[in-house]
Subunit: 204 residues, 2 copies
DNA sequence: ACTACAATATGACGGTTGACATAGCCAGCG
DNA sequence: CGCTGGCTATGTCAACCGTCATATTGTAGT
């Protein structure tokens, strides 16, 4: 049976990463923050901090794609857009605009491990892995929205472009809301995105 | 006369921050990367690392808002949009998709200085300052685009919303491009944004 | 009851960080 | 010439990091 502490560590890491970023989140603080034993860290995550980060962003990604997939297939593209936005808005408001998106943090930062700076040879490949993971999660969200838009009758290429626009603009807006300590950017972007999608779908 | 090494430090810090994020950029690496003397750091930046970060993002912000302001007032909103996008596209391509936006990095991360963990009392206020600065730069870009859109005859509220959408989506897209090691997301978003603005301006 | 193994606790290690202090350099100018 | 003040060089400091090694505990299987 998979331990409970492992899950708490992953969730705690995702939370801290969304608030402070990847490099500002230390493993010691994760265990401090979650009340989990420090000694278990190398047991549950033999891959070290890198593995914790991977698990955390996969966890965070699934937490979004789950409801998103459910609502889009159930009630269409428009409901999916609203769910996507509402989900982030709630996260922002519930944390007083301290938490953002941990996947975006991975996409913006570069995780560097202390030992053996060496050359950039080994670092590059390992670095790729984290970015690939983040890119995969973004692609996942896009694919869900894109499929829903195609379902509404849009051409494949148009649906893909619009899905990219939605994911990118919401991610950027969440960061802006964090900086502004306000949900206003999200409301403005939400307004425009709804207008755009509505006109594109209905005016077909 | 303001020293040359100071400017090199600021530019180097902005560059490193755009590649690795705020917390992964150490002052020692800035001086290593720019060939500037380590001892001068506390002379040029008595405020320590925080001051370096501030100067770096102000510098990076001006590097965008300069050309942006010039082109929008010269050739209109559409040219401004294209300039904004092209500017980021060039940055991405010239660095093999390693550099993103340092202001976004500040907006996503939380800069934490090692000493005096204390409570969150003192940290909060200081943290605000960096985020306020980042928010101000975003607002600067928005204001330029928004003014250009109003010049094209749009209502003030609509112009503001669209400007927010443009800035947010481009910022998010730049991060996605970094993760994907590809300019494709930017091209897709660019396509949709041009379509949107064109229809909104012409169909007035 | 006793073993075997997963999980937890605790400490140590080598390394880096930001900040600061002290000392040396080197114009420019009286 | 000598001084002076802006830079630069170098070292030290405490704190923290990620990782590993070594107990110690908990617990299920026989």
């Amino acid at each position: 049976m998979t331990s409970n502490t492992r899950a708490k560590m992953v969730a705690g890491a995702a939370d801290l990463m969304s608030r402070r970023g990847v490099n500002a989140t230390s493993m010691r603080e994760v265990v401090r923050h979650t009340g989990t034993p420090r000694g278990s860290i190398s047991h549950h995550f033999p891959g070290g901090k890198r593995q914790l980060i991977e698990d955390a962003i996969v966890f965070a990604g699934a937490q979004v794609s789950g409801p998103l997939r459910h609502l889009t297939t159930e009630r269409g593209a428009m409901a999916g857009l609203r769910a996507f936005i509402t989900l982030w808005k709630r996260t922002l408001e519930q944390t007083n605009y301290q938490a953002g998106c941990p996947i975006l943090a991975v996409a913006v930062e570069e995780y560097v491990s202390d030992p053996s700076d060496k050359d950039t040879g080994g670092g590059q490949a390992v670095q790729r892995h984290l970015l690939d993971l983040a890119q995969g999660i973004f692609a996942d969200w896009q694919q869900i929205l894109s499929a829903a838009l195609k379902q509404e009758g849009l051409a494949a290429s148009r649906a893909r472009r619009l899905a990219t626009l939605v994911v990118a603009s919401v991610e950027g807006t969440v960061a802006m809301c964090r900086a502004a300590r306000s949900a206003q950017p999200l409301e403005e972007v939400s307004h425009e995105l709804e207008l755009l999608l509505k006109s594109v779908i209905e005016g077909r």
